[in-house]
């Protein structure tokens, strides 16, 4: 009996020690391994112990924006080189704060696969899905259309893969259609309006009548709305706002009504090929030589790029608009990127190339900083991330809507270019504080971290 008692007592003591040790170990475990606590958690396309990871570059390789897509792809290839520690490093030399070490991401070599969005939402979704399911990419990035961006980021949210948007300017991308897994570095139509307003007032006064020609899809609608809000706040009247089909080609039947409308400003909410055609035709119809209401008739293109300026040729000279970034910027980050890109390809990068290069670096840096590819942790690292040295001054990825806030450029088609690439003259660098807004005004829900 006593033996039994002693046995029980001895067992209890041992048990107590064992349980206590186990409990202490368990209690202390998170403190030792908190950084990798979620490492055991599996997620889609977890690279695990693999020696490499893949990015999916989903850009328009065919269709109307193929040239922009080609430039995006050039920038991504350069970013991959720099992340893997090859080349001159580009913006990795100027980015602050920087966690990347130039040895890939978390020690894994970065590789990539490409897809063709064709600038069509369904094709873009299909190619993103293929890259996620078959190629096992950890991140999707690229694109040159808001329709595509909204469609692809919806898919990425469903599939739990982060989407770093390329060129998309609609307010909806980080507004009513925003997603937890989608991030936009590019500026938006609202910011274009805010940036352009004071310059329009200064150059054209407060007594103007504007006529809008607008591409009939999400980007055109939100840009028209934003620019209208801005110009009407200046005291301008809106004579008419006419929707035009995307890819109309010949815009003459939409331009002739402008001649006798009483308007003295034509605002072209067109992009890419449409903008090149509508601007060329507006100039052919003599709009820039006209005098209406005792004033010179003016044309405004709220969003344009160097590639578009190249297409529009002489007609773009003197035209006001906004742009996300221009190669002529003299900050250290822009200079490093232009040098790197120019040495590689023999010409400077476009704004599409810039935004895509930066997006690739930002994602890679966020993974390195988070210490994991687990998307919710990467998302949390990107949300509210403040950085500098990547062009456009100090920049922040706002947590509430995943929109980047940075300085915006008001540009004018250069009338006296000093070189073949000097097509845009930076008229004004509008500080970030002047284009910021409350995230609530565009509605939308980011959605969950865990999917």
């Amino acid at each position: 009996m006593s033996d039994d008692k002693s046995k029980t007592s001895e067992l209890s003591r041992r048990g107590f020690i064992k349980v206590g040790a186990a409990a202490l170990t368990a209690a202390n475990m998170p403190m030792f391994f908190v950084k990798d606590a979620w490492a055991a958690k599996d997620f889609r396309n977890n690279p695990g112990n693999a020696g490499s990871v893949k990015f999916g570059f989903n850009v328009p390789q065919t269709g109307a924006y193929a040239d922009e897509g080609a430039d995006e792809l050039r920038a991504y290839k350069l970013a991959v080189k720099h992340i893997n520690g090859e080349g001159d490093g580009g913006m990795l030399n100027t980015m602050k704060p920087l966690t990347l070490k130039g040895n890939g991401i978390l020690g894994k070599k970065l590789e990539y696969v490409t897809g063709d969005t064709q600038t069509k939402s369904d094709a873009a979704r299909a190619s993103a899905k293929r890259m996620i399911e078959k190629d096992g990419v950890v991140m999707i990035t690229g694109g040159s259309s808001s329709g595509v961006a909204v469609a692809v980021q919806g898919l990425c949210q469903e599939m739990g893969v982060i989407f770093m948007a390329g060129l998309t300017h609609s307010n909806d991308t980080t507004g009513k259609d925003k997603r937890r897994y989608g991030f936009r570095h590019f500026f938006n139509a609202y910011m274009s309006g805010k940036a352009l307003g004071p310059v329009l007032k200064e150059e054209m006064g407060t007594d103007r009548k504007a006529y809008h020609l607008t591409a009939d899809y999400t980007w055109g609608w939100t840009q028209e709305e934003s620019i209208k809000n801005t110009t009407e706040a200046l005291g301008w009247q809106t004579t008419a706002a006419v929707k035009t089909p995307v890819g109309a080609g010949d815009f003459s039947q939409y331009i002739t009504p402008v001649l006798n409308s009483g308007a003295d400003v034509l605002i072209l909410n067109h992009y890419g090929k449409d903008m090149i055609n509508s601007l060329t035709q507006a100039v052919q119809f003599g709009l820039r030589d006209k005098q209406v209401n005792g004033k010179n008739f003016e044309i405004v293109v709220p969003l344009f790029s160097r590639l578009m300026a190249q297409g529009a040729g002489e007609n773009i000279k003197g035209i006001l608009g906004t742009t996300n970034w221009n190669w002529s910027l003299q900050d250290e980050g822009s200079k490093a990127f232009v040098k790197s890109f120019g040495q590689e390809y023999g010409f400077p990068p476009s704004m599409a190339a810039h935004t895509c290069y930066v997006q690739a670096l930002l994602y890679a840096n966020a993974v390195e900083q988070a210490g994991t590819f687990y998307p919710p942790e990467v998302i949390k690292t990107l949300e509210g991330f403040k950085f500098d040295g990547m062009g456009n001054g100090p920049t922040e990825y706002r947590a509430e809507d995943h929109q980047c806030f940075k300085d915006v450029l008001v540009v004018r088609g250069n009338q006296n270019p000093t070189s073949q690439f000097d097509l845009l003259q930076v008229q004004k660098i509008v500080p970030r504080s002047e284009v910021e807004y409350d995230a609530k005004i565009f509605g939308g829900e980011l959605g969950p971290y865990e999917v």
Partner: protein, 338 residues
């Protein structure tokens, strides 16, 4: 009133392009019985003849661009300007009209090669197969052009002297606000001349007479000992030249890109259906008619009543015509009626 006048001019202008493409399309259908969906690509190739000549005339010497300090960049100075100074600049400026001289033989050759190399093998095949193969050919031609010239539109300005607008309002007593681009007026005139030339060729030459006879009764003309096939091959070449010239002259209006032919093809095909398959007069009349209708449908006053009408008007008219008069406005009885 001014707005209506301008929209009529717009419609005629646009209709001129539709008519020129549709004319070739219907000529090929009337003679060879082939529905050629690559005809729009011929229009595009014509426009790229203008671009090609411009590129040839601006072959340049590469000079280091000293203004770029970040990397090695080069700017280009055309040899023509180096050798001939202002005269060289003028030749480059007039590259679009000059390219007509290049486009005629090039398009004729392309037309003949296309007909002998591919189309002739599909004469006796169903229309569906002809459409498939010619559509495929159009895509191949597009992709070839894209691989050489890229996807973005390439500006190809008219000569400086025609760059502004004509004060037609002042000339016609309609007011100063009625202006119309010089080059578009020239295009309208050019369309008229080409259409007249094609009709005159078919009407007043022996060759044309044989072709017209062949269109009506191929077998009988053949029995007379005339090689109709040979003539029809040349007709295909002529149709290619007409489409090509339409494209050359359209280049300053719409900066050419590889896809421009497809945009015009669909509309021109509707024009042919409305005008009547195989009817030359029908194609021309329907081209101008639909061009004008499309212009009017784009007026804000019309769109305020029926939103989006500008984008469907042509197809709406086509549906009505097919329902009411399947052979088209001026089509021959029995053609495409069953």
């Amino acid at each position: 009133m001014d707005a209506i006048f301008l929209q009529i001019l717009n419609g005629l202008d646009k209709g001129g392009a539709y008519a020129l493409i549709a004319l070739g399309l219907t000529l090929v259908f009337g003679t060879l019985g082939v529905v050629n969906f690559a005809h729009g690509a011929l229009f595009m190739l014509g426009a790229f003849c203008a671009i090609t000549l411009e590129k040839i005339l601006t072959i340049s010497m590469k000079v280091k661009d000293e203004s770029i300090t970040f990397f090695d960049a080069y700017k280009e100075q055309p040899y023509l300007e180096i050798w001939f100074g202002d005269f060289g600049t003028t030749i480059i400026d007039w590259s679009v009209p000059i390219s007509i001289l290049l486009a005629i033989p090039v398009m004729l050759l392309i037309g003949l090669v296309m007909e002998r190399g591919l189309i002739k093998h599909f004469y006796k095949r169903p229309h569906a197969e002809q459409i498939l193969v010619t559509f495929g050919l159009a895509i191949v031609l597009q992709e070839i052009v894209k691989s050489f010239f890229g996807a973005n539109p390439i500006p190809s300005p008219a000569p400086e002297i025609f760059s502004g607008s004509a004060p037609i309002g002042v000339l016609l007593g309609l007011g100063e606000s009625v202006v119309y681009p010089w080059w578009r007026l020239i295009y309208l005139l050019f369309s008229g001349i080409i259409i007249f030339a094609v009709f005159a060729f078919l009407q007043f030459t022996t060759f044309g007479m044989v072709v017209r006879a062949g269109m009506h009764d191929r077998e009988t003309v053949g029995l007379l000992g005339i090689n109709v096939e040979h003539r029809f091959t040349i007709v295909f070449g002529i149709a290619a030249v007409v489409a090509g010239l339409a494209g050359v002259m359209y280049a300053p209006i719409l900066p050419p890109d590889y896809h421009m032919g497809m945009d015009f093809l669909v509309l021109s095909f509707v024009v042919v259906v409305v005008g009547g398959m195989g009817s030359l007069g029908g194609a021309v009349a329907a081209g101008f008619l639909l061009g004008i209708l499309q212009s009017f449908a784009s007026m804000n006053e019309v769109k305020a009543i029926i939103p989006g009408i500008d984008q469907i008007i042509i197809y709406l008219v086509a549906v009505v015509i097919i329902l009411v008069r399947p052979r088209g406005l001026m089509g021959r009885k029995g053609v495409m009626e069953d």
